[in-house]
Symmetry: C2
Subunit: 345 residues, 2 copies
Amino acid sequence: MSTTKTYRIAVIPGDGIGKEVTPVAQAALEKAADGVASFTYENFDLGAERYLRDGAILPGEDLERIKGTDAILLGAVGDPRIKAGILERGLLLKLRFSLDQYINLRPSKLYRGVTSPLANPGDIDFVVVREGTEGLYCGAGGAVRRGTPNEVATEVSINTAFGVERVVRYAFQLAMKRKKHVTLVHKKNVLVNAGDMWQRIVDKVGEEFPQVTHDYLHIDATTIFLVSNPSRFDVILTDNLFGDILTDEAGAVVGGVGYSASGNINASNEYPSMFEPIHGSAPDIAGKGIANPTAAVLSSAMLLRHLGFDEAAAKIDRAVEADIAELGSTKRTTEEVGRDILARI
Amino acid sequence: MSTTKTYRIAVIPGDGIGKEVTPVAQAALEKAADGVASFTYENFDLGAERYLRDGAILPGEDLERIKGTDAILLGAVGDPRIKAGILERGLLLKLRFSLDQYINLRPSKLYRGVTSPLANPGDIDFVVVREGTEGLYCGAGGAVRRGTPNEVATEVSINTAFGVERVVRYAFQLAMKRKKHVTLVHKKNVLVNAGDMWQRIVDKVGEEFPQVTHDYLHIDATTIFLVSNPSRFDVILTDNLFGDILTDEAGAVVGGVGYSASGNINASNEYPSMFEPIHGSAPDIAGKGIANPTAAVLSSAMLLRHLGFDEAAAKIDRAVEADIAELGSTKRTTEEVGRDILARI
Ligand SMILES: CC(C)[C@H](C(=O)O)[C@@H](O)C(=O)O
Ligand SMILES: CC(C)[C@H](C(=O)O)[C@@H](O)C(=O)O
């Protein structure tokens, strides 16, 4: 008789290739956790199709049901037929904010077998700890005299000591398990209010972690180092917008966002955390069955690790590493990559 | 008897390597314009040394004198002994804003002879047209309960149709002289107020330029393309902060910010425009005489072009191109590079 605990997983495939890669992530989850945990899945029909059909983006009852689950697997959100911002703000960011997923965790690793666009990439293995619930993503802003020559549009970045301190502490704790170095990235020479607060909180929390060194880089300089010397990074700690920008550049540097997963984590466990590839819905290749499901599969490893199943997560990571090392440069369909990775789990 | 007009140039060497590269830029200016224009120079003792000596950052009388000049050559601003933001906001940004330098023009070109960190860089030759007087750089923001656990720090991005339209029109005009393509970069799926205004104004102004095509990219996706396919760009049009970030990444991709110059342009000529390398004061190598003056020299070519001396500017550009092609990979001092470039002008 099985004594494994059963977890409820909300599955939101979303749009475009999100629908193609999410089933592969689920299959990997199942196989890796076999014998240690069981899952029941609740599928949510959210995203562009749903919105175009009945105008719903994230109905209250869906959000309540999602709140009752143990974790969320998300594919991708975004569709060219829909005005920019509607699904992003109404669905993806609404989830991150409503579920207080204040840690946006984004590892970047150059796998053996992947060709980086850099001539001399070196060993790349760092994690971006991006704040997930503040900054310019708050939706505070507006416009007056819209559409006239006198229009003024504002965007307000709201940053709280409460919100910054919890992500700073998380970054230092993570660094303790890694190479013990934190790099704060901001633009404190221009954004003096927010930047100064981030720096003061890093300095203060840093004192609790005497074994962890920390330094500071401006966002602009960081984009240079990601290209010229990405090996220098261990844990990059930054705000919501800078984290968005840096992780895409980092994805490019490690050979494509197809290898980059992310966790939107409520580290205090009041709400479920959400795991997703960092790539988007990729309308240009959607429906062709050629999207690389690796990032989605890696996000299911992050989900397992979050639930405490380190060994099951490591199985997926090892399977992905072996798959890429051997077959990374061969052209395969979504199904083929899924089959090859699954065979190794 | 010479009939050349004399121009008054304000020279602000500033900090660190700014002091070492600016004289080289001046020498190049002199030589290239010989016979077509004359210059008188007014040196301004502004930057870290001055601030540490007497607390002055940009005294009103200096600003008034600068307003009376025809153009400004700036070295670099920033010093590790001074809290981030003081000189940047008080001197560099104060100049850009007071002189209404609303076009921040930043060409990126991969010169023959320069090794890009990219394995397959392709032909890189684009210009970033960065808005220079709005957005998050306005200094609108503040903090409450500073230093307490309840601190809230804000940064406000202010964007006006007036400010956006003039830079959009400039970008389209520039594209007409180039490959006739404009890429708007923003984050309109999150920053919906400002992003939507930028897009509407681009669409409207674009109609005046039927020969110029335009498309849109999110800032995060743009950081990917700068690494994976920088050749796709012609004119990149973006806001103040995104322009800051992209041009540093672009500098890295073309082999280092040592080859990247910029113009802070008041295109309506009410105030002098200002030309500077995009690199900073580089405290780590300052005082050693090894800073590469190429970007500063290229900024004097931009100054000449701005004043209408296209042929003199082209002389500098050609000299730099020839110098890099032949000697780009040899280790030289600031003086040696200066001497080599000057010999070719
Ligand atoms: C789709 C978009 C709102 C989102 C973001 O900006 O956070 C995406 O780019 C990401 O990085 O997850
Ligand atoms: C020094 C700093 C204020 C400045 C900026 O952010 O504009 C610099 O990075 C630049 O790009 O010219």
